[in-house]
Amino acid sequence: MPGNQSSNSPMQIRQAASENGAPRLVLSGKCTLGALKQQMQSLSAELVTFATNPNLHWDLTGIEQLDDAGALLLWQAWGARRPRNLELRPEQERLFNRLGNIPATPEPVPRNLLDPVRALGKTAFLVWEHLTGIIMLTGQLFLDVKYLASHPARIPWREISATLFRTGAQALGVTALVGFLIGIVLSYLSSRQLQVYGADIFIINILGVSIIRELGPMLAAILVAGRSGSSMTAQLGVMRVTEELDALAVMGIPHSMRLVLPKVIGLGIAMPLIVLWTSAIALLGGMVVAEIQLGLSYQYFFNRLSDAVPIANLWLGLGKGVVSGMAIALITCHFGLRIKSNTESLGEGTTNAVVTAITAVIIIDAIFAIIFSNVGL
């Protein structure tokens, strides 16, 4: 548009002498943020040098357009007060009147030496808060179960089955892939070592015990914590942001019973099944490598497995699955319900939930290892 070219010219400064010989500064053009932009800094410096002369006569009536940013530029150059000789149009007068009472820039708060101590204390309280929060949520779930036992019609079957499908059936692909690869790696590395000692046959013991007792449950738990745990926290968090949690509360539908309990029960059922699946696929991977590397036939591997691995290991693995599955759901739901209605809290909450869930899973594993140290070995 040709019409816009002329009207977009930034402010011009012209020096002139007035009738009585006093120096005079005539400003013209557009003095707005849009027109000045990158010239702001240089123009500011120029205006400051002019402002050092107290007798200078400022004529702003020629300015086509003046906005608050432009007015502020002049105001700062003048040192936050009007020059002695100033010519303004009435609407410019109003603008400068408003500039007069801007609150001063607040003093930066001095750093307190006790801040690190205070931060440490806050973290300690936060950990305590989470701990009591999770215990309270667990207690609430027990009360819900008690209530549902006497009102079986209100058991949230649909939600439980949805959780089973989302955390169980849909996780089969990724757990199978990871399990198979870990089985291959483990079998390959062990078989190389065993070959040196001529103890090829023990590959079955090593793979069987380590995968069924330890690796299968751990792999599955960590994958599910990352995959389903994050989605649980994010789901509850978004429900908080969009006030859906409040809508449920005013309808008299308790969060714990309708949202948390089905997830805890669902994952408690799905998790041991995933553990079983992951262990089976990992063993399959190990079997393939054992056949290629050591020439152990599938038939032999399979027959020896039941002798090499006491059945207690399988129950232990499944038990770990149940406990860690429920713990993952409980922890991620606890974090999800704590999310505040802003985007930052949502991201932070999800991260914390997944990290805590994975840590908890490993702690649970360690506890199992200590308690059952003389079972099944």
């Binding site: 019409g3 849009g34 990158q38 906005d67 802003n342």
Partner: protein, 260 residues
């Protein structure tokens, strides 16, 4: 209003969501310095048209030009300068929830990379005063604010770079009557002080009567009327009769009764 060139030009615009046709051949020209109000029943596509003018949605057919340029431009600098000349007030404010009130308003100014922090502080304070928010609220987070305050702060953010073109989507929805009056007054002062062009979608008749230069009525997938308020009321389209003819409409229109 010397310059009658189109600031926004919509040509032959069609919108379709699946099989559902929202707009059919919409042609519209927004003049420099006017307040154009979009009205229409809910579902008539006011917000969609507004979003298409902003380039947030692509029409099935047709073009939108702002400041004589197409809204889809490969030149980054041109796009950016066009964006800097537009301010938008979203229906729910759309304040960044992770930033304080101060940082929300300061963000577009900082993105300009032309102002120092001291200048930004003063400008933010001016904007806050403009929308009548006390300075002690500057450090608050959006989640701590009431709906009316969110609207006003969102307006302050929309005005952060003193845009020439302001889009308002339901600016008075969810505000109490007193705040609406204040809001209308605020827009009127902004108009006189800055050469502001405003495109607004609203349901509120009081706001429409107080602010509009021209009214666009969307119904039956097209523009059924585009004129100043008095002439639009004269139109006998069923939606217009219903919209302005009810008790609400009569009450709001008594103020301009002399013009009939």
């Amino acid at each position: 209003m010397a310059n009658k060139d189109c600031i926004i030009e919509v040509k032959g615009l069609h919108t379709r969501f699946g099989a559902h046709v929202v707009h059919e051949n919409i042609n519209l020209c927004v003049h420099h310095g006017e307040v154009l109000v979009l009205v229409g029943s809910s579902g008539s596509g006011k917000t969609v048209l507004l979003r298409q003018m902003l380039g947030l949605e692509t029409p099935a057919r047709g073009t939108v030009q702002i400041f004589g340029q197409p809204i889809y431009n490969s030149d980054r600098n041109k796009m950016q300068s066009m964006r800097n000349r537009c301010g938008v007030l979203f229906q729910k404010g759309a304040l960044f929830s992770a930033l304080s009130v101060y940082d929300n308003i300061a963000l577009p100014m900082r993105e300009l990379h032309a102002l120092d922090e001291d200048m930004i502080y003063n400008l933010v304070m001016l904007k806050l005063k403009m929308v009548e928010i006390e300075e002690q609220h500057a450090s608050k987070m959006p989640s701590e604010l009431s709906g009316g305050m969110i609207k006003r702060i969102a307006l302050a953010r929309a005005m952060a770079l003193n845009p020439e073109l302001l889009f308002l989507d339901e600016p008075t929805a969810g505000l109490d009557p007193e705040l609406i009056d204040g809001f209308v007054k605020l827009i009127l002062t902004l108009r006189t002080e800055l050469a502001l062009t405003i495109v607004m979608a609203t349901h509120d008749l009081d706001t429409l009567v107080a602010l509009s230069d021209r009214v666009v009525v969307l119904a039956d997938q097209r523009i059924v009327a585009l004129d100043n308020l008095c002439n639009v009321i004269g139109n006998r389209h069923p939606f217009i009769i219903n919209f302005f003819g009810g008790d609400r409409g009569k009450r709001a229109l008594t103020g301009i009764g002399n013009n009939f």
